[in-house]
């Protein structure tokens, strides 16, 4: 490989991670790379108050997927927009340069930003902070599969930590369809060879869905099965998130 001379040499990663792996031959005895059962989520870890400079914040870790979300406000709206009596929600998601296996540019993730906004806006009581903006900023420290669901759950926890009024916590989980199998909370390797994916963000106590995305090829019974799997997992996830908030509240009382 001839290098381009000059001041900015082109570099490449020596690891073969760029090559998209071929789907594993899905036999009867196929196992997930991390040894989990098909319907078993990674252990979830949440901690509120990760960033002192923010009004509220949370850190979430699902396996090697690690995310920090900070919430600022309610504060003055910076963008010049039409007058609006209700509050405004502003989201941003970015990745660190070292989040992905091959070094990235560390730019904003426009798609996740839009999706995060849509997943949260239905849960927030915007009438409770009229004429002001609540900023929800997420940084993906390490990306290792199911990034968006982790960002959404973590963001709703950070909003709760900031004391922003919500109808309920938003918990989010995704499933991947790998030929005949449905695997929940997929890791990067599984997402790279999936036939389809389904993601739900919901408010478990109200049994309301704020976001549902389905991509790829799905049969109707598979969609039903996948949705049920996600809803059950969301309910469990919300319990863990609630527990984290309770612990933080009892710690601060002491």
């Amino acid at each position: 490989m001839a290098g381009k001379g000059g001041t900015t040499p082109a570099t490449y990663s020596p690891s073969p991670a760029t090559a998209k792996k071929k789907p594993p031959h899905l036999k009867e005895d196929w196992l997930r790379p991390d040894g989990r059962g098909f319907h078993q989520c990674r252990p979830a870890f949440f901690r509120t108050g990760a960033v002192n400079a923010a009004s509220g914040s949370a850190y979430a870790e699902f396996g090697n997927t690690k995310v920090i979300v900070s919430v600022f406000g309610p504060r003055e709206s910076k963008k010049a927009m039409l007058y609006n009596d209700t509050g405004r929600l502003n989201c941003n998601v970015s990745l660190t340069t070292f989040a992905t296996p091959v070094r990235g540019q560390g730019l904003d993730h426009k798609e996740y930003t839009a999706m995060l906004h849509k997943a949260l806006e239905g849960a927030i009581i915007v009438e409770s902070f009229p004429k002001t903006t609540v900023d929800v900023f997420a940084l993906v420290l390490e990306s290792s599969g199911s990034d968006l669901p982790v960002i959404i759950s973590c963001a709703s926890l950070a909003l709760a930590d900031a004391g922003i009024m919500m109808y309920d916590l938003v918990a989010s989980v995704s499933v991947s369809c790998l030929s005949k199998n449905l695997v929940i909370d997929p890791i990067l390797e599984e997402e790279n060879c999936q036939d389809g994916s389904l993601m739900i963000a919901c408010m478990p106590s109200r049994y309301e869905i704020t976001q549902l995305t389905v991509t790829g090829e799905w049969s109707t019974p598979k969609i039903n099965e996948g949705m049920q799997l996600c809803l059950d997992a969301c309910a469990k996830l919300a319990k863990i998130m609630r527990l984290c908030l309770k612990e933080a509240a009892s710690d601060s009382q002491e």
Binding site: G3, T11, Y12, A53, F98
Partner: protein
Amino acid sequence: MEKIKKRMGLPNASEDLSSEMEVDAFRRLFPLRYFERHLAESIRPDGRPLMKARETSIFLGAVASANGSALVKIGSTTMLTAIKMEVMTPSLESPDEGCIAIDFHMPPICSPIVRPGRPAEASPVVSKQLSDTISSSKMIDLKELSLVSGKAAWMAYLDVYCLDADGALFDAALLSAVAALSHLQIPAVAMNDDGRIIIMSDEEGQKQEPVNKEKRKLTLKSILFSLTCILHKNYILVDPTSEEESIMETHVTIVLDTSGQLISFYKPGGSVLAYTAAIQDCVAISRQRVQELKSILENSAMEVE
């Protein structure tokens, strides 16, 4: 709330009001007076003596996918550094040298003053200061990053992310960069038939000899530590918080190596002039701090093992 004008020109008014006002309101309205009252008692609002740095911790290997990484906390200020090694073709002028690219980022999560699309003022300043300090100190021998002379060498991308900004950003950034460099593990690589460098995997047998059999860890010739002090009137405040930095503007940053040798001294202007005595005092405090940081770094390395 942030809009309250700092340092209103009403010294007499504050005198009269201070007896009646709530402490928190006084702190917001007259921050400088509030601080000076503490300084006169040789204590800071967070309970620290003037010469005491905040609690510092280092955690090595925080980023699993990186070749070297470290998470550093000084008080609330948090920095995450990761190093990723990539391969480049060395330049014609220095065929036996690799390269190191240092970058400092302040994402919008770290502070209320940073907004998406509008980078913080401090971020390019700290970035430049970091790469200048590390490259001028000869801490790293770039020849150690060479793989095949004239054909391939390492490009080390060192990215520092500020996760929580609460003052003394350069100190925390340098500490995390140095800690990540000390944690760096260089993978064993071989050159394939196309002249590309690939990572050696255990599975494929030992057909090829690694081109970097011995050079798997960087030799850090010296280890750098820094300390930022605020100069205000005759007071020296060590390791300032962001509140202190916003109220008292003159600060000096001193970088020393472990043998106590001065590597760099940085005083970017400010209204307070630094007299020789003050500078000597700052350097003396920095020497103590270097010993403290050195043992914290050594302990964190032992925890990993």
